[in-house]
């Protein structure tokens, strides 16, 4: 599994799992229809509590990233099927961006540099997506 936990990040463990699955899905490392490990297997592999693994999957399911099929396991959903309204999606992303802005302030990174950095990372991300698409 591609999930790397960091207990020193201060980010709740279930969120770390959810964020990394989303990152893998967004970059194409995980594709629609791909099976994910069962809650128990995930818990065992990451040495985390079953409750935490289940909470991560519940979060991903509520965001429409994956679906739990009774009896057969857990699968990545096709993108674009987010059940959340656009306003809710914007609000969620907005909160994440606020955190980035606060962090940039603390690191004394100016607005222009922050915008440039965002463009750079976006370009990088799209590049990786294209590469995976070709392979």
């Amino acid at each position: 599994m591609f999930v790397q936990l960091n207990f020193r990040s201060g980010v709740p463990v279930y969120l770390q799992v959810a964020q990394q699955v989303k990152a893998a899905a967004a970059s194409g490392a995980l594709r629609p229809g791909d099976a994910l490990p069962s809650v128990r297997a995930l818990a065992e592999e990451l040495r985390i509590n079953r409750n935490t693994a289940a909470k991560a999957y519940a979060e991903l399911e509520s965001e429409g990233v994956l679906e739990l099929r009774q009896g057969s396991g857990c699968f990545l959903k096709a993108n674009g099927a987010s059940p959340l309204r656009r306003a809710v999606r914007s609000e969620r992303l907005g909160a994440e961006l606020d955190a980035v802005i606060v962090q940039a302030h603390h690191l004394q990174i100016g607005d222009d540099d922050l915008r440039a950095l965002l463009d750079e990372r976006l370009a990088d991300f799209r590049g990786r997506q294209r590469q995976r698409g070709q392979s």
Binding site: R8, S9, G10, V13, R47, N49, R50
Partner: protein, 295 residues
């Protein structure tokens, strides 16, 4: 609200004049994996003995599934399994016989769980228990505890004295197997001073020090609050007395290290205002939080 699996209020117990427990409060909700952290002698085993009616507290109340273990001992004991830090079996029994013997006291026994864990731990059912290593004894005791599928699993120092490489693995296996069925109903209460092994397993914990709960928190919440801030300065670092709001301060020449509890943002701002050349922050692990909390 569900009835807590364990509820302890103002528990006091003395051995002679020594106060082992000095007004302990503890609430464990069903389905949680709860860590009970303390040094040797902090009162962990005394607390567990009160839960099992092996000791009568001097004052305070103990409830397990809402019942008083002193008056409803049999009912309490059918719903939990307890694995002590030192496990003994009748030496003339084989692994198979020891499990059958335990099963004979239980109303319920899951043979599938028993069989799959015996295989995973590579324990030979025909082997005599007298020839088992300390680790294998603990494995056998854990299999017996889990096969009974109790609502509450009480583990007292389950990994102490075991090979560090092995113990992390098998505690994970056992707790994973136990909580796999009926999630939300299977509660684990684990007492330990070896906290690193349980870092990812613990939902919530209490740090016990000198018979009192000195910290109770969700693991995620504790890691978010307890942080280490480090700053380096061009010249000498500010004096330790500048950081009264920190939990602890270590100053060494041009650098300073603060441990903070919940007020990391304010102290971070204070540090930045002092124009350091470099500042970093990271969360503490549960073990470090424990170390920062006990005296």
């Amino acid at each position: 609200m569900n009835t807590p699996a364990i509820e302890v209020r103002q528990l006091v117990h003395r051995y002679g004049r020594a106060e082992a427990l000095q007004g302990l409060d503890l609430t464990v909700e069903p389905g949680q994996c709860y860590g009970f952290f303390g040094r040797n002698g902090a009162g962990k085993t005394t607390t567990i003995k009160c839960l099992l009616n092996l000791l009568r507290p001097h004052s305070g109340s103990v409830r397990v599934f809402g019942m008083d273990p002193r008056t409803r001992e049999a009912e309490v004991k059918t719903r939990l399994a307890y694995v002590p830090d030192f496990v003994a079996f009748y030496p003339w029994m084989s692994v198979r016989e020891a499990l059958d013997y335990q099963a004979s006291f239980r109303g319920h026994w899951n043979r599938d769980v028993e069989g799959s864990l015996l295989r995973q731990f590579q324990l030979d059912p025909a082997a005599p228990t007298s020839g088992l290593s300390k680790g294998q004894r603990t494995q056998l005791a854990l299999i017996g505890a889990i096969a009974a599928e109790p609502e509450l699993l009480v583990l007292d120092e389950p990994t102490s004295g075991l090979d560090p490489l092995v113990r992390r693995e098998f505690i994970q296996t056992v707790i994973g197997a136990y909580q796999d069925a009926a999630p939300g109903k299977r509660t684990v209460f684990v007492s330990t001073h070896l906290i690193t092994e349980f870092e990812g397993l613990i939902d919530r914990f209490t740090v016990l020090d000198q018979g009192k709960a000195v910290l109770t928190a969700d693991a995620d919440e504790a890691r978010a609050k307890f942080r280490r801030l480090r700053a380096r300065f061009e010249g000498d670092a500010p004096a330790e007395s500048e950081f009264k709001a920190a939990k602890s301060v270590k100053r060494d020449g041009r650098s300073v290290e603060l441990i903070v509890n919940g007020n990391g943002d304010e102290l971070m701002a204070q540090l930045r205002a002092m124009k350091p050349t470099e500042v970093t922050t990271e969360s503490l692990t549960l073990e470090e939080i424990f170390m920062a909390t006990v005296r």
